[in-house]
């Protein structure tokens, strides 16, 4: 990326959104480079949809500016922004056919009938629904409605493509297929896309950049793997599905004590800030698949003895829950590496220094 890309794209500066006493979005600063697939990820009520609506121009921020390609668009009304948006309910116009729905924005712009028909055919081709322009929207399946909503949003070749959990109503299989299709479509068109979702798997597998949000604030911004490897705090770690979070106390340098045992940490540093001072409280996080498990009590560096409480076989993997001094550590192994333990056995978990990540509260 050249120097020019620093100012290109969408920039949010100090965005606040207040509803009475409630602060739905609080001091959001984001720079989204052009051509990327960005996910706003967070639990319901975290402010991700409100932020998307502010970008679309459907809500006015209480404070802050929205800039696109170095132009301030904060006060520009939604209908003058030319951003394509797909709503959670899809919001297809029930009185219009598939073709008329897709051509709606072109009709508003006064594009003539022949050009409209050409564009509709081209878009139906793009979403793999050729020849269905005459259908009525009530005659479509869930997946087809989805495609029509996408095609309609793309008709004006928008600068930004905004998606507000459009896949959440689909069943699991169709949903995965649409995820792949949507990602391929975005790559082909090279359009900057923002997808709002509460599904961490969806965010992790689809996006170039993930924006994790909670309680109206951005918790972490980064590529999916970065967020997975180096979560910025325990909320992010928990939300993206890392279940092992252990309270720890710093003991100088890279050493710390966890559940009474001495540990060293050589893994990647947390995404933000330096290491806390000696005696400081931190959270040690480790992904379940990085934990090693041995039968019986063994001592050694980064090892914790405990009792197996539960072994859960989920087919593709085996999850073993070990209680170590009141804290639970989960280990995930492939069926062929199934540890020779069962519930009630003594066992030892090893948390390799290079896989441990320290989180500040």
């Amino acid at each position: 990326m050249g120097l020019s890309s620093v100012t290109n794209g969408l920039v949010l500066q100090g965005i606040d959104k207040r509803y009475g006493q409630v602060l739905a979005v609080s001091d959001v600063n984001l720079t989204l480079p052009p051509g990327q697939f960005v996910c706003f990820l967070g639990p319901s009520g975290c402010g991700k949809t409100t932020l998307l609506r502010i970008i679309a121009g459907l809500e006015m921020p209480s404070a802050g500016r929205v800039r696109l390609d170095d132009k301030d668009i904060t006060d520009r009304p939604a209908h003058q922004r030319n951003f394509g948006m797909v709503f959670q309910s899809l919001a297809l116009f029930p009185h219009l056919s598939v073709g008329e729905n897709i051509a709606y924005s072109l009709r508003i712009r006064g594009v003539d009938r022949a050009a409209r028909r050409r564009k509709v055919e081209e878009l139906l081709e793009l979403v793999r629904m050729p020849g269905l322009a005459e259908r009525h929207v009530s005659q479509l399946s869930g997946g087809q409605r989805q495609r029509v909503a996408i095609a309609r949003a793309l008709a004006l070749e928008p600068k930004l493509f905004l998606l507000d959990e459009p896949l959440s109503a689909l069943d699991a299989k169709l949903r995965e297929a649409m995820q792949v299709e949507l990602r391929l479509l975005q790559k082909r068109l090279g359009i900057t896309t923002i997808l709002v979702t509460h599904d961490q798997r969806e965010a992790m597998t689809m996006s170039d950049l993930v924006v994790v949000m909670d309680q109206g604030r951005v918790q972490q911004v980064g590529p999916p793997l970065d967020i997975y490897r180096r979560p910025a705090n325990s909320f992010v770690a928990q939300f993206i599905g890392i279940s092992n979070l252990l309270p720890a106390v710093m003991d100088g340098g890279d050493r710390l004590t966890v559940a009474g045992a001495l540990f060293t940490v050589a893994g990647e540093r947390p995404a933000s800030g330096e290491r806390p001072m000696s005696g400081g409280r931190v959270t040690l996080s480790i992904r379940p698949e990085d934990v090693h498990l041995f039968a019986g009590t063994q001592t050694g560096p980064n090892r914790l003895p405990g009792t197996v409480t539960f072994v859960r076989d989920v087919g593709a993997s085996v999850e073993t829950y070990v209680d170590v001094g009141g804290e639970t550590v989960v280990q995930v192994a492939a069926p062929k590496d199934r540890p020779p333990v069962s519930a009630g056995d003594m066992a030892t978990v090893e948390l390799p220094a290079e896989s441990c990540v320290l989180l500040r509260e």
Binding site: H79, R81, H95, Y104
Partner: protein
């Protein structure tokens, strides 16, 4: 399980409504239908007969004109009510729940007023001596006070006032079910709020608008007090003519024939709308 129950038990609950319907609707209607074919005795009552003379009288220019003015007033009132009521109801459904309830209570309180009171109130408001024109004179917009009643405008105004709360009540349920996503989607696709209203909201509510128009049309077609109080003889609708014939001219057979005619026109219109609605559904 219900198949085990004897058939007579299934019919038993039907007896009460059919007796009620028979006694209070079918029998009086039958009497009226019969009377409409009876022979009138000048200056007196009527005697049983079967003649079409009462229906033939419709073909005179005088009664065709009365029918025309009835249809015109009903049509105008229906259109004005929907044109005023639709945007009002749409904006009402976009308000907060608490404010919506307040407005609806206000509208319902208008419904509690008697048609007679509304009629006479408007006749005072539109009169020369105490009416609104005095206000316009006072602020200098008119030279001298004028009487706006009786007349077509006064009748229409009164009927619109009466019909507007019904319009809102009929349009409120479908409009409040309209998802806010729909107009918002139109906004993101480049339509200004006004264009969104005319390209998405109005066409999306075609059926609700159509049924509101029909309801108001039929409702106004039967209006009697307002045209009587606010209109002169040229604005007298069929309903007024029926009253006139029945009460003042003692011509019950002719009044009955007109009432039947009015009902046939109303039913015809409702049927037409049902037909249109079904065709649209088939097209959908």
């Amino acid at each position: 399980m219900s198949e085990v129950r004897p058939a007579s038990g299934g019919l038993l609950p039907l007896i009460y409504p059919s007796v009620m319907l028979g006694v209070f609707f079918l029998v009086p209607f039958g009497i009226m239908l019969a009377v409409s074919f009876f022979h009138r005795i000048e200056g007196g009552f009527y005697e049983p007969a079967f003649e079409l003379a009462n229906y033939q009288r419709f073909l005179s220019a005088f009664f065709l004109e009365a029918l025309g003015i009835s249809l015109l007033i009903a049509g105008m009132t229906a259109v004005i009510c929907v044109v005023l009521g639709f945007p009002f109801t749409y904006l009402l459904t976009r308000l907060r729940r608490r404010h919506q309830v307040l407005w609806l209570v206000l509208l319902l309180s208008v419904l509690s007023l008697s048609e007679v009171i509304i009629g006479f109130t408007w006749s005072v408001l539109l009169s020369r001596t105490a009416g609104l024109s005095n206000l316009l004179v006072w602020i200098g917009l008119m030279e001298r006070p004028d009487a706006w009643t009786p007349g077509l405008t006064a009748v229409t105004l009164g009927l619109v006032y009466l019909g507007l709360p019904y319009t809102v009540l009929v349009l409120y349920p479908p409009l409040s079910r309209l998802e806010p996503d729909i107009p918002e989607a139109a906004r993101t696709l480049g339509a200004s709020p006004i264009r969104t209203f005319f390209t998405v909201i109005v066409p999306g509510q075609r059926r609700a608008i159509l049924s509101a128009l029909v309801m108001l049309f039929v409702f106004t077609l039967g209006a009697y007090v307002i045209p009587q109080v606010l209109g002169g003889p040229p604005q007298w609708t069929l309903a007024v003519r029926i009253t006139d014939q029945a009460l003042y001219q003692s011509n019950l057979p002719f009044a009955a024939a007109m009432a039947i005619f009015l009902m046939v026109v109303s039913l015809g219109l409702i049927g037409l709308v049902l037909l249109l609605g079904r065709e649209r559904q088939r097209a959908a």
